[in-house]
């Protein structure tokens, strides 16, 4: 090495040493920091905390289990065991001798088994080669055959030896067991008593802190061996994430922190340690959505693979929670995941991913209500949505509007519908937040008048069936309206739209109808709705003309409403300029001017009316002449839940940048995104304002989020079957025709019960109908309803459904009861049979006639106790069902007043048939089947060539 004194240096080496030392120390520190930064994870803290929680819960469980153990008995058993052990000790010599013998025999047995095995192997080989050899030549190789037979015998001999030794061994074992039985028996008893407590104690020991397991094995750099803190994941075999050009099974790591999600006992603990609600429907191993096959994110969305709170895209549900999370977890909106977690309460939006196009999903109450709202509000009419095709137009037909309304009333109505009828579903098209300037108001008035002119000019004529109807009594009418069932679909009083719900506002609101239309029209309608509008869903209540007159008189007293007055005036020149704007959008200005020059002022008004109706899409909800083939004007919403955030225009609104906030703001005020913008009149947003309140907005947002591009493979979906199809179609039908407003089916519906004093005065429960009523009878009943419960005021109307619909209803009932497609025998009973006589005895003994109608309504019974006419039994009810009903009415119709006469079935309290309940029930059934003469629906007759 050169002498450094003579060479010289560029740097002071001693200084460089210091620099080197300093930077090396920094390097070491930064490497340690790097290791720590990689090691320290939030989820590990949750897992450490959970160990403590689990210990707590286990301790509580242990206390409970210990309390269940009878300490005295346990003491006794333990004492007995010690004595037994002592006794055993005395016999030690004997046991030792036996054990020696046993070991001996075991050895001999092993040897014998070995010889046996060898012999078998050899025999098998020789037999096989013999079989192959003699294949072509069956006569030869006889020597071999003899040899093989000998080997077989030898093998059998050896087998016998094995059996002998085995028997000897088992004998010895038996003797030993016998000797030890005292102890072992007591051991078993003690184990049986303490199984739960020892299991929990063992668990507590596992959970107790242990240096090696909890600290050493979880230490940084060493934690690859056998850490107790590890990422938990669920890979779902049938549920996929749709990435570009490929599908990847979902990998849900939520359970890394949500450690008790599928375990009972943690309901009271805060997140992330809470148990999932409704474990028997979600997440539990016996539920239809077990955790291992469903995972978490298919329902809740969010980033599945993340194990950090922020990146998993947890969504706060309230503002307060947002601030709380920002402080505690440094939470911020996640921009790097397209589908953030659904906020609490909206998780049911994901049901539609697998329950494809189902209008009613059992247990999904939020979603079902959302869909109910979506349909009643008629969103599907303007916004095409898969699953809602082919439904009726939500609003009444305007084809014959001349006969019903006056232009003045219509103008007031469409200016602001909710001022006339507060619960109406008709939205407000004008006077919204983006059309409130004076100029806009003038335009609005011109448009309103033009629309009205168009509707009336294009209206058909309508002749009332009874040109001069009788006058009725409004007090009688009120009684009828409030009892016969009108209120099941119509609201007449002061209820709010959400309070009444989409089912009881299924029909047009009756508020203020007196100031809306004429007596003649109401009479014509109430008497026969189909006369005015063939397609109406309103059924025929089979009112007499007298009753119809009373109802009409009552309805005409419902006046009121506070219509909004026009807030601007305009002249012809102005409305011409409005029309010019519309025409210029489709033809060049010169041509537009020419067109207008060629029209009279009335023609121009009508032209403007047509343009206005076309722009705002009135025809989507109402039948209007001239718009029969027009296309809906709204955005298609079929995949709205999958829509990317970047496709939504937040305009100048300062709201959180999420899809849900966008939807909610839009639903609160559909024109809000026009705020602050400079727009030509025809460029403005045009969705009308429905006046939704916060609950309705949240429900509709849930519905929107549920409309997804379906990506799950068939293996993940509900298995299809005829029964499922029948259920699906039936559930849709009973909702779209509003059967469930009056009747409860499958734990849903029956809103009518809120209008009567007692549920028994409401229309009956229909869930058991499939097993209960004969389908043919039911079909005839649908075609022409009769009175089954004569004490009821409310009556089943006559619905005009096609046979296809009725079949869907019948199949639906059959699917609920699982009797669809079953062959039912027709049971005919001879009235002279022995069981019938006893049945009659029992019938009197049990005093069935006290409540059941039998031609006469029983006297001295409050109406709540009355029961259907038993004369109809043989024609109406299914014979097997009667037995099930008699045996246990509560299981079929919970809450029924029918007594349970055989609570300890098949033991009976009554003496007949030697107290054999089975035969007693059967005999009563047989007796009932001999009745006749009850009311019966008319068998519908179909002539050849009739339309179904």
């Amino acid at each position: 090495m050169a002498d450094k004194k003579t060479v010289g240096h560029a740097y002071n080496i001693d200084f460089l040493n210091v620099v080197f030392a300093a930077s090396s120390i920094f390097l070491f520190v930064s490497v340690l920091w790097m290791v720590w930064d990689d090691y320290d994870r939030g989820w590990k803290n949750y897992q450490r905390r959970f160990v403590q929680l689990e210990a707590e819960v286990t301790r509580v469980g242990l206390e409970a289990a210990s309390a269940n153990v009878d300490a005295v008995v346990l003491e006794q058993l333990r004492a007995d065991r010690s004595t037994a052990e002592a006794e055993l000790a005395i016999q030690e010599e004997q046991t030792v001798a036996l054990e020696d013998e046993l070991a001996d025999i075991d050895a001999q047995l092993t040897l014998a088994v070995q010889r046996h095995n060898f012999a078998k192997a050899t025999y098998d080989v020789n037999k096989y080669s013999f079989e192959v050899d003699r294949e072509g030549d069956p006569e030869s190789y006889t020597d071999q055959q003899v040899e093989i037979a000998a080997q077989y015998d030898e093998w059998l001999e050896l087998g016998l030896e094995v059996e002998r030794l085995t028997a000897e061994r088992d004998g010895l074992r038996g003797q030993l067991a016998e000797i030890r039985r005292g102890v072992t028996g007591l051991d078993d008893q003690i184990d049986a008593l303490t199984s739960e407590t020892s299991r929990l104690e063992g668990r507590l020991v596992d959970l107790a802190p242990n240096f090696i397991e909890d600290y050493l094995l979880n230490a940084p750099l060493i934690d690859f061996l056998a850490p107790s803190l590890k990422v938990q994941q669920i890979i779902t075999p049938n549920i996929f994430d749709e990435l570009n050009f490929t599908r990847v099974p979902k990998i849900d790591r939520c359970t890394t922190c949500h450690l008790a999600i599928d375990r009972e006992g943690y309901e009271e603990y805060p997140q992330p340690f809470t148990t999932h609600p409704n474990l028997d429907v979600y997440v539990g191993s016996a539920s239809p959505h077990p955790l291992e096959t469903t995972g978490c994110t298919v329902c809740h969305e969010g980033m599945p693979q993340s194990v950090s709170f922020r990146d998993a895209s947890h969504t706060p549900s309230t503002e307060e929670q947002t601030h709380d999370w920002e402080d505690s977890y440094d939470w911020a909106e996640s921009h790097l995941w397209d589908y953030p977690m659904l906020p609490r309460g909206m998780a049911e939006a994901s049901c539609a991913k697998c329950h494809v196009e189902e209008v009613h999903i059992p247990e999904a109450d939020v979603l079902n209500l959302s869909y109910g709202l979506y349909e009643r509000a008629g969103c599907y009419a303007c916004h095409k949505t898969t699953g809602f095709e082919g439904l009726r137009k939500p609003g009444p037909s305007l084809m014959k509007i001349k006969a019903k309304l006056t232009p003045e009333w219509v103008a007031d109505w469409i200016r602001d519908p909710r001022r006339v009828k507060p619960t109406t579903w008709m939205p407000r098209v004008w006077y919204n937040s983006n059309t409130s300037s004076p100029e806009d108001v003038r335009r609005s008035e011109a448009e309103i008048d033009a629309t009205v002119a168009y509707l009336f000019a294009n209206s058909e004529d309508h002749e009332f069936a009874v040109p001069v109807p009788p006058r009725g009594d409004s007090a009688e009418g009120q009684a009828i309206v409030e009892s016969v069932g009108c209120l099941g679909c119509h609201v007449a009083g002061d209820e709010t739209r959400l309070g009444a719900g989409p089912r009881r506002t299924f029909g047009q609101a009756l508020q203020n109808i007196g100031s809306k239309t004429t007596y003649e029209w109401v009479f014509d309608w109430v008497r026969n709705p189909q006369h005015y509008s063939e397609l109406t869903y309103m059924p025929d209540l089979r009112l007499t003309d007298r009753e119809a007159a009373d109802v009409t008189a009552y309805l005409m007293t419902l006046g009121g409403g506070d219509p909004r007055a026009a807030e601007a005036t305009y002249d012809q020149a102005f409305s011409d300029s409005v029309l010019l704007d519309y025409l210029r959008a489709i033809v060049p200005t010169a041509e537009a001017n020419a067109m207008m020059a060629g029209m009279s002022s009335d023609e121009r008004t009508l032209e403007l009316g047509e343009r206005v109706i076309g722009r705002y899409g009135c025809f989507s909800c109402h039948d209007i002449d001239g718009f029969e083939g027009a296309q809906p004007v709204g955005t298609e919403l079929s995949e709205e839940g999958t829509k990317l955030l970047a496709q939504l225009d937040f305009s100048f609104l300062d709201i959180p940048h999420t899809k849900i906030d966008w939807f909610e703001n839009k639903l609160h005020d559909p024109r809000v995104y026009d705020q602050n913008r400079v727009l030509q009149p025809l460029e403005k947003l045009r969705m009308p304002d429905y006046g939704f309140n916060s609950e309705e907005v949240q429900l509709l947002t849930t519905a929107l989020m549920s409309f997804q591009r379906s990506v799950q493979p068939a293996a993940a979906l509900m298995p299809g079957s005829a029964r499922q199809d029948a259920l699906r179609l039936g559930r849709a039908l009973v909702r779209r025709r509003n059967c469930i407003a009056c009747h409860q089916v499958e734990n849903d519906g029956g809103d009518y019960r809120t209008l009567v004093a007692d549920p028994s005065l409401a229309p009956p429960l229909l869930t058991p109908e499939g097993a209960k009523v004969k389908p043919d009878w039911l079909y005839a009943f649908f075609k022409g309803p009769i009175t089954i419960r004569p004490w009821l005021d409310v009556r089943m109307p006559t619905f005009t459904l096609t046979d296809q619909h009725w079949n869907q209803v019948l199949d639906y009932f059959g699917a609920i009861s699982n009797t669809i497609g079953e062959f039912r025998a027709h049971t005919i009973v001879s009235s002279r049979g022995g069981s019938v006589a006893t049945g009659s005895e029992l019938f009197d003994l049990l005093r069935c006639q006290q409540c059941h109608v039998l031609d006469e309504i029983p006297a001295d019974q409050p109406t709540e106790n009355l029961a259907p006419d038993l004369r109809m039994t043989p024609e109406r009810l299914q014979a097997d069902w009667i037995i099930d009903w008699l045996r246990d009415p509560q299981s079929i119709q919970p809450g029924t007043r029918m007594p349970a006469y055989w609570p300890d079935f098949p033991e009976a309290f009554y003496p007949q048939f030697d107290q054999d309940g089975e035969q007693q029930v059967r005999s009563i059934r047989d007796h009932l089947l001999t009745f006749s003469g009850g009311p019966r629906p008319v068998e519908p007759v179909v002539e050849a060539g009739d339309e179904p």
Partner: protein
């Protein structure tokens, strides 16, 4: 660094114009870092005392270098350890080691192959186990103990037979044929909280080590 490279850096001796410093005989000049032989000068004590031309601030040159190389080595060792740790992923997209297989009454006595493909275990229900002498379940891991192939269950011949080299195992898992040196391994099998059977392949039990007596290797029922 300096503007003028001809200026000698600190640490080098001054130019010839400077007065010559007297040099004590006991301290020979440090020639380019070479030390003199031990016979010439006694060994200097280490630690705080600096060499004459040592211009290091605070500590001695030896200290600084020691510190520097020490922490550099430590950092390298830590980085190497971190690299080694990196080779063991925290989580793998593999089937889970622990899984539930249903309720006990879903199984009849005998060998059940329903989880063989998915999880690699046979579930065997026996009226009397050879070691525990009780009725219940055990889970055999479907890996042949010879060289790791997957044996087949031949129900007609009541044995597991490995197609690779012919190893044969009884339904208990005990090897009796072919080159397999030891019986099939059993996996931990316990009852989960909700009543289902839980199999855990992370813990294995080998017969030849006497581990089949362990209560978690056999589920009594």
């Amino acid at each position: 660094m300096t503007d003028d490279p001809t200026t000698p850096a600190a640490g080098t001796p001054v130019s010839k114009d400077a007065p010559v410093k007297p040099v004590t005989p006991a301290v020979p000049p440090n020639l380019g870092g070479k030390t003199t032989s031990a016979a010439v000068a006694p060994r200097r004590p280490a630690a705080a005392k600096k060499v004459a031309d040592d211009t290091s601030p605070l500590l001695s040159r030896r200290h600084w270098l020691g510190l520097a190389w020490g922490s550099f080595t430590a950092a390298s060792a830590a980085a190497l350890a971190a690299t080694g740790r990196f080779m063991f992923p925290n989580v793998l997209n593999e089937p889970p080691q622990q899984f539930k297989i249903g309720f006990p009454d879903e199984y009849v006595p005998g060998v059940d192959e329903r989880w063989k493909v998915r999880y690699g275990v046979w579930i065997v229900r026996t009226p009397s186990d050879i070691v525990q002498e009780a009725s219940g379940f055990y889970a055999l891991i479907s890996v042949c103990t010879h060289l790791g192939c997957t044996p087949n269950w031949l129900s007609a011949e009541v044995k597991f037979k490995c197609p690779c080299h012919g190893s044969g195992f009884r339904p208990t898992g005990v090897n009796f044929e072919g080159p397999a040196p030891r019986p099939l391994e059993r996996a931990r099998i316990v009852l989960a909280e909700d009543g289902q059977i839980l199999v855990d392949k992370a813990r294995k039990f080998q017969f030849e080590l006497g581990q089949w007596a362990d209560p978690e290797s056999f589920l009594r029922s």
